[in-house]
């Protein structure tokens, strides 16, 4: 078996009383797009900074491309790229000047750096705007330049720290396409994101991190199934009916329902879809409640995520399937 692109074991980092990383474990196989998901302050950025040699962990072991980030940082730096929250480009210079500068700092000759800059401008769709100051770029263009800069020497491992935060849907799509293209060329990508949809769209596998620890590992589908089966969404005609319907369904089906914040939707987790659907429709008819729509669906990654991280948030309550250990749901 190949050496994993990234391994860390028991990685810890504290700031005063805060444990930003608290025995964090991660194994990322070569060639994957791997998602690191967690709420704000869960330790995603700290983990990426430690793996990219920007931050010295207090304890634990971390290897990237086979080299220790603590003892061989220079070797690691020669094999990684970093983009997103933690890496930036010069706004006054043009994209071309940026890429030539970074190329020179990767110790390419002047001619090779210029050649590589042109290649990357073409590859990342920036050839036309290559001479403009980066300050005038759209958010999507800037992120693509950011990616291009981390790709001067095609890295073994690419760290993307929230690469689409703050982009509009168009810019986000552009960046997603670029990330897929880079990964299909063989680079291992570790992606942190707050957009659960993003992990769902891009990642082959995901580690969920909360309070500095890995709380679950698996494919997006496997994580969704952790929340226990399907959901039935009932959209009501009248928002005033929501509390009554929620109470009614909770009582009849014996499960915790959740309400949508825009006001008219009640979500019910179910195990037997048909029986539950029949029961729900009967209830609503009995009470003469006007219904706009009823749908049966798989849980969203959002729900899986909230479920996992809320379990982690109350340490006395982790007995279930997590029991303090990362839930290893991956069969592969």
């Amino acid at each position: 078996m190949d050496t994993p692109a990234i391994v860390c074991e028991g990685l810890s980092k504290r700031y005063g009383k805060t444990r930003a990383l608290d025995g964090f474990d991660l194994t990322v196989p070569e060639g994957a797009i791997y998602g690191l998901l967690g709420p704000n302050g869960a330790g995603k950025t700290t983990a990426v900074r430690a793996l990219a040699t920007l931050l010295r962990p207090d304890s634990g072991r971390a290897e990237v491309a086979g080299f220790s980030v603590i003892r061989q940082p220079a070797q690691v730096r020669a094999r990684i790229g970093l983009a997103g929250q933690n890496a930036a480009v010069d706004e006054i210079l043009s994209a071309r000047q940026n890429l030539v500068m970074f190329g020179r700092l990767y110790h390419l000759t002047a001619a090779a750096a210029r050649r590589r800059a042109e290649e990357l401008l073409g590859q990342f769709g920036l050839a036309e705007a290559g001479g403009q100051a980066v300050g005038q770029y759209s958010g999507g263009m800037r992120r693509r330049l950011d990616l291009a800069a981390s790709f001067i020497v095609a890295p073994r491992v690419l760290f993307l720290d929230e690469p689409t935060t703050g982009l509009d849907p168009h810019g986000r799509n552009e960046v997603w396409q670029t990330i897929r293209a880079l990964a299909s060329a063989g680079t291992t990508v570790l992606l942190t994101t707050q957009y659960l949809e993003e992990a769902d769209q891009l990642a082959d596998a995901i580690t969920v991190i909360a309070a500095g620890r890995a709380v679950a590992v698996g494919s997006p589908d496997e994580l969704k199934s952790l929340t226990g089966g399907d959901r039935i969404d009932v959209v009501l005609h009248d928002a005033d009916d929501v509390p009554a319907v929620a109470a009614l369904l909770q009582a009849r089906l014996g499960v915790d329902v959740s309400l949508d914040h825009d006001g008219r939707k009640v979500s019910v987790p179910v195990t037997d879809r048909l029986a539950a659907l029949t029961e729900i429709i009967r209830c609503l008819q009995d009470e003469n409640i006007r219904v706009e729509d009823i749908t049966v669906r798989r849980p969203t990654l959002d729900e899986a995520f909230l479920h996992l991280t809320s379990q982690q948030a109350s340490p006395g309550d982790t007995a279930g399937n997590l029991s303090g250990q990362p839930a290893e749901v991956s069969a592969s």
């Binding site: 040699t53 010295r56 070797q75 933690n86 890496a87 930036a88 006054i92 700092l105």
Partner: protein, 276 residues
């Protein structure tokens, strides 16, 4: 595919990398001057020239230099030194902007000489200040100022001014790395530049100040460099006999060396702390 850089092990080739990388980082700033000349022109050229004209002509008529001499001759070395003071803000702003925007982190995640991030900044800022000094001297020559004691002493004076700038560089790097998460603090530090000048002898002679203020001004490191430059250019000194002024040249070396001895290690410490 582009070849992966091989990390050099020998000290000589590592030094070679450090010098090469420093030059690349320095050139980034030179490219800024070309692409966006506005701020450089304003802070390095227009502002000091404006001050020379304002103080020299507008206020200069009301200024009498104690001990005699022309006020514009008295002012020029002061303005040279103030240009060095303004350099603190330039360094501070550049260092904090790079750290805040993540450019410093990108450099730190690359297989380049880590020292080059700072040495490149240092080289670019020293170049920038040397150019500013040359332009201001040219402006001085136009309004009738000139060195009276020969080229060697004049160059000595410029050297002392740049030594002061080199000391201020490390204050700027330290403060930039200290305050970068907090842009308000960066702005606040910049507004202190002028008071540093007024609490010294660049604009007025210390002998005209109240005793307590005079004492502060006398011990202001800036004052020693200004006095030394006045002495070496042969400009009026503003009649201010004291041990510090009598040994102005020695003090104009001692103060910056002391500042460097304090702020260079502090800057390195702050830079290393980025990885905490």
């Amino acid at each position: 595919m582009t070849a992966r850089p091989v990390i050099p092990q020998a000290i000589a080739s590592r030094l070679g990398w450090a010098i090469m990388d420093t030059w690349v980082v320095t050139r980034r700033d030179l490219a800024h001057w070309v692409r966006q000349p506005g701020p450089v022109l304003a802070s390095n050229l227009l502002f000091p020239v404006m001050i020379v004209l304002m103080f020299g002509y507008l206020l200069g008529g009301a200024m009498i230099v104690p001990g005699g001499g022309d006020y514009r001759d008295f002012l020029m070395p002061g303005m040279f030194a103030m240009t060095m003071v303004f350099g603190i803000g330039a360094t501070l702003t550049a260092v904090s902007a790079d750290a805040a925007r993540g450019i410093t982190d990108r450099f730190r995640s690359m297989p380049m000489a880590t020292s080059a991030v700072i040495t490149g900044r240092a080289a670019a800022d020293m170049l920038s200040s040397a150019v500013a000094l040359a332009v201001l001297a040219g402006c001085g020559l136009l309004v009738g100022w000139h060195p009276h004691r020969g080229t060697a002493r004049a160059l000595g004076a410029l050297g002392l001014l740049l030594l002061l700038r080199f000391a201020f560089l490390w204050i700027g790097v330290y403060l930039g790395l200290r305050f970068y998460p907090n842009p308000e603090a960066v702005t606040a530090v910049r507004t202190l530049e002028f008071p540093i000048g007024f609490l010294g002898n660049p604009f007025v002679a210390i002998s005209t100040m109240p005793a307590w203020l005079g004492a502060i001004a006398l011990w202001n490191p800036l004052s020693s460099t200004v006095s030394a430059a006045r002495q070496l250019f042969g400009d009026p000194m503003g009649a201010n006999p004291s041990w510090i002024t009598d040994n102005a040249v020695a003090m104009a070396i001692a103060w910056p060396v002391l500042l460097i001895a304090v702020f260079f290690p502090l800057s390195l410490h702050r830079y290393r702390r980025l990885s905490r």
